[in-house]
Symmetry: C2
Subunit: 506 residues, 2 copies
């Protein structure tokens, strides 16, 4: 606001409340055709014209732009027929009037508060009328000159459209996108929820998205063009991200064609941050209903408080009636940090090998892509070939376990993947369980045919594995022998007593 | 999801993954034309057909619907010319095929995860092709029958469109609104900010919006169709609002034509709630940058902790680079609570008379509307007539003080209001200050001509007023005489010492 409001505004555009070039805004140019040309050249919208943008002397005299004007004037004079010159001239004038009138109308139409025309008889409908009249007149004067002008203007526009010069004019098109997004979101607020239109709207705790590209790519592979995705970045060190870092992260996501929003959020703990983001982020119906986490692979080494924080985040998510997804990658989620942000204690790289709800690496090795240049390529960016997607349907959990693989399998990259559904059953009525599951899948209208019944769960686990399990949970158990008095369970609330542990085993 | 997934799905629609009526979803109907008719009648979309929806016996036999089918069949047979009947018949069939094909296409097109057709040769483009072919065939068979059918269908549709029956089918149009809102918001995320397109995007701490309708209406009067407005409701009693209450509040806002979102948020204090909402709410560029508060009119009576909370909320807002607006109404903001929600301690009704940045009641009495029926009419809903909007421009605060009145004065209701700008100056260079301010307004391209210079501030305040001021702030002062030891300033951090107080006075 300040730059536009407090600066001395020069040039015709100001009367209409608009500064058309960057360098008029920055007060370096003055009136006149040659000056406008100088500005245009300085903005460097078209190639090879930058050289004409140089000014000389105290008044920044546009000597080179004078030369350019002279050359153009001579070139047109060389046509030699005043009738033709007049036609071209009128036609170009009409085209300019059309564009100025229309841009005035469009700026008014988008309701941008920054558009405050001073001309007292200004009216947006008069502008629109002027634009239409100028456009029609352009062709009435001479249809061929009008056509030539139109083609020239379209070519110039196409060039800008595809080259996308790195200039931010604050155009009325930008103001228009704001209006469209706002009114569409407001209109959505009036739409009632219905189970048929349920979509998993994901809040993904990625930290800075560049940090865990696999998590971003995986969630994007089932939300893109279909559902909301917000990358939540919980900042626990009391400092807010500088605006440039945020912009850089958003640019990274746009470049990667990830359709996601980025929400940095300062909080004391993962738990409160996740809860607050789930509550507050989004607009109306565009609101997260699913929390996506990376697997805390360093749980054996990390501080008990951070584990408690992580587990409580999961519990809170269920308590507040939200869905939960956890992604575990073979090589961990984190990549080396390009932006030098602090990594949340929760998610350090891991070397674990277990994978669940993930494509197992049958067809191709699943670690292709990890040895490429930038370090942020992930397995989810490539075509998945004929891998398999394994679903473990242990209990009826509402259907998200089936919905997410279904959404993934619709993508082109995953379309050749086979989906297998594993259920737990007994050896005796194995075939029966299989048929039940197939019937359920049919009712869900999911085209998964490959149902396998796991009967192993009847057997006792092998002594070796049981021992490994007891070893890994040993630090978190509260043995019945009181080691330092009775109050120990208050000091270490994350430890579980023998009785609770026994309850879990059965 | 559950209702649609786990129920036994009957009827032709199921093969295409769609249940067309509420009562098929609720498993009360069976196949057949008469049953479909029964369902249609039960949904009560069209008037006087509810009577045909009654079923008889154990199988819910649609006897009345059989009768209706019979009557319709006889009525058409009475035309007596088989050619005409065949024409009408084909035409109606084609129209139905068009609609079914097109709705399949549209459901696929909106990417709703709930749309999972089982027909293995299904393809959305085939559906679209089928729809177009059926539509064209309808007119090729017989143009007059096609036209009659089209008119009948349009009339039926118009009836539903305007009557808006209270049924939620989870249509693909609803899925479509979601997609439009999502893609528009995602597209906006790529747009860079520019000062020209600055808009005051307001987070309004209304509590339940029904509680402070004046605050809602006032902010809506400058954000409607132009900018984002979120009604933040900070819930401090650890309980979340039930979903029905939230829906009711959203409906109240829609009915009032307030274009705003409603964000309930559980927090420990006003301060943390406001900060978290400012940080987390919104999507991408649709994010609040302005906090709007009601004036804490009961500050003299309320607990010091709540005052500190309120003041710190204001300080935090400035610290986090956001704008701030405070609305003070003559009769306070709160209305009697219809929903029996707990009122935040911060904003009790007040009887104060001061008003700032508000229309003073010169033309008409400003309390019209407060004695009407529902109790939630506010002065901002009526035409404002020829009142005046007073702006007190004490210091250059960035321009929001001028921008908000400008945005208000653009509204039709406020268009006849006069805007006066008051500035502080000295008697000597009064005219000079006035001209400076007029020049500033011209640079801002604001059409405010009436600038008045207040020179009173040179004079000492009257002894009576000074005494009143000292009396009112007395409870918050920390007198130099140590009353209960040195540590008092730690216990009561909201009190200010004599030295700080002296600093404020100069």
């Amino acid at each position: 606001m300040t730059a536009n409001m407090t600066g001395d505004c020069l040039g015709q555009g100001c009367q209409f409340g608009w500064n058309f070039t960057e360098c008029i805004v920055s007060q370096s140019c003055h009136d006149g055709l040659a000056n406008t040309q100088e500005c245009l050249c300085r903005d460097n919208i078209y190639p090879y014209i930058g050289v004409f943008g140089k000014g000389y002397g105290k008044n920044d005299e546009p000597l080179r732009a004078y030369l350019l004007s002279f050359i153009i004037a001579v070139a047109f004079t060389l046509i030699g027929d005043l009738n033709i010159i007049a036609m071209l001239n009128s036609s170009l004038f009409m085209a300019v009037y059309t564009i100025i009138n229309f841009s005035c109308f469009h700026a008014s139409f988008t309701n941008s508060p920054g558009w405050r025309p001073q001309f007292i008889y200004y009216d947006k409908w008069v502008s629109l009328f002027g634009a239409v009249v100028s456009f029609v007149l352009m062709f009435i004067f001479s249809w061929w000159a009008g056509l030539v002008t139109l083609i020239i203007f379209i070519l110039l526009w196409l060039y800008i459209y595809y080259k996308k010069p790195n200039l931010n004019w604050g155009t009325s098109i930008q103001a228009g996108s704001y209006n469209i997004a706002l009114s569409a979101s407001v209109a959505l607020a009036c739409v009632e929820d219905h189970v048929k239109n349920f979509r998993p709207q994901c809040l993904v705790l990625t930290g800075p998205p560049t940090q865990r590209p696999a998590l971003v790519d995986f969630v994007n592979s089932f939300t893109k063009h279909a559902s909301l995705m917000i990358c939540g970045d919980i900042i626990m060190d009391k400092k807010t991200r500088p605006q440039e870092a945020t912009d850089q992260l958003v640019k990274w996501m746009n470049k990667r064609k990830v359709h996601s929003f980025y929400s940095p959020f300062t909080a004391n703990s993962l738990r409160s941050g996740a809860q607050n983001l789930l509550q507050a982020s989004g607009l109306g119906k565009l609101k997260p209903n699913t929390l996506v986490l990376g697997f805390k692979s360093n749980w054996e080494e990390s501080a008990p408080e951070s584990i408690e924080d992580y587990v409580n985040t999961i519990n809170d998510t269920f308590d507040s009636n939200n869905c939960l997804c956890i992604l575990r990658m073979m090589d961990g989620l984190d990549v080396s940090d390009q932006f030098d942000f602090k990594v949340n204690q929760g998610f350090e790289p891991d070397e674990s090998v277990e994978k669940r709800d993930q494509p197992s690496s049958e067809g191709e090795p699943s670690d292709d892509g990890t040895d490429k240049g930038d370090g942020d390529e992930t397995v989810f960016q490539d075509d998945q070939g004929k891998k398999t997607i394994d679903i473990y349907w242990i209990a009826d959990d509402g259907g998200l376990t089936l919905l997410v693989p279904y959404l993934i399998s619709r993508r082109k990259r995953w379309s050749r993947c086979r989906v297998r559904v594993f259920i737990v059953g007994e050896q005796l009525n194995k075939e029966e369980s299989r048929k039940e599951m197939l019937a359920l899948l049919k009712r869900f209208r999911l085209d998964f045919k490959d149902v396998r019944v796991l009967t192993d769960c009847e057997r006792r686990p092998q002594a070796k594995n049981l021992e490994r399990f007891f070893d890994s949970v040993a630090p978190f158990r509260l043995y019945d022998e009181p080691q330092e008095g009775v109050s120990i369970s208050q000091n270490v609330p994350w430890k579980i007593s023998d009785r609770e542990f026994g309850g879990l085993q059965t």
